[in-house]
Symmetry: C2
Subunit: 202 residues, 2 copies
Amino acid sequence: MTTPAPRTRIQEKNRTAILEAGLEVFSQYGFRGTTLDQIAEAASLSKPNLLYYFPSKEAIHTELLQGLLETWLDPLHALDNDGDPVTEILDYVHRKLAMSRDFPRESRLFANEILQGAPRILDVLQTDLRQLVDEKAAVIRGWSARGKIAPVDPHHLMFSIWALTQHYADFDVQVRAVLGEKDPFPGAEAYLDQLFRGILTT
Amino acid sequence: MTTPAPRTRIQEKNRTAILEAGLEVFSQYGFRGTTLDQIAEAASLSKPNLLYYFPSKEAIHTELLQGLLETWLDPLHALDNDGDPVTEILDYVHRKLAMSRDFPRESRLFANEILQGAPRILDVLQTDLRQLVDEKAAVIRGWSARGKIAPVDPHHLMFSIWALTQHYADFDVQVRAVLGEKDPFPGAEAYLDQLFRGILTT
DNA sequence: GCTTGATTTGACCAACTGGTCAAAGCAACG
DNA sequence: CGTTGCTTTGACCAGTTGGTCAAATCAAGC
């Protein structure tokens, strides 16, 4: 969309490698904590070569964040007013949890940005995200009103879905420290099902 | 405990100012993203003066993290096997939520550390935290077994309490972007009450 | 094999980083 | 007062940072 498509095959390969490397490092150390040298090494390129493909450290970060936001909000778009309410919401939970399992670095990149006050995406949050959430909140409120699900605050329901699913990616280290070797995800899925079923069906 | 008490009044004042400033900056930018100059300015001290009170940037960070861990685990200690199960758990939720409201920077400092792989506290998580959690998990499992609360996975219950309460501090910016000016906390408290009551009372 | 444009790199730079140090300022006590 | 020990600071340093640039390398069409 925003990104002009890379032309040659080698450009595409290197840009991809840089973004992949950037994701790896930014998601762990945040923007300020990350150095171009780290990214360059992770991408197996020289630092000046990085800057041949991207004008600055900031540009890499921005592009990652932009690509991320689409992916991140996508599952919420799918929440369908005409589907079965409980199924719709639980499906959303499952999709979000799967994203935490399959794309934990993306989740951490996002978490880092928010923790730092979201300097680069605050406007998107205040406009696009807010609008989308309000829209879906209305859907949920409608379900409640029609007695399809228990009365719940739709915004806090949304927050709780985000918090719980992303926790397994963002706090992965802590979860594993407490759980030992055991894979958290099967248990998480069952628990979240139980938890949200509990609040949705009175 | 670990920290030898400062002697003079001026020492105490400056050490406190430095820790306060460090908390402010570390909690926003993480360890690597924070500079001594930032801390010095926030504490209204010169950089060499900082280093008169603390031997290094790392020392400030470590001391903050140590003090934090105690406070952080404290509410969990209070979970009492002999109290009323639902009340005990909901009280824990309320205490944790209050901490997010009253000490958001502490929550973010912790989040930053975990996000970066918990390099400085991984061992504490794997020993002290794990042991404490296992202990309380046994209590909860006991309550379930005796039919006092619904059968739940105690570890994931714990994770969900942490995730939900800390979300309001760590993702504060996002929450406020979505909610507008409205204070999230009264709503959060009511919602969390409803959510956990739902899963605990079948 | 030569030219042309895309790609890569070594050398370099100014600003910033965490940290040092010797000297200066200061308070209080005799 | 003068001395003594705590406190503060300006000047400084070596290493790192994001970023530049001219020159070298490379690939591909002619």
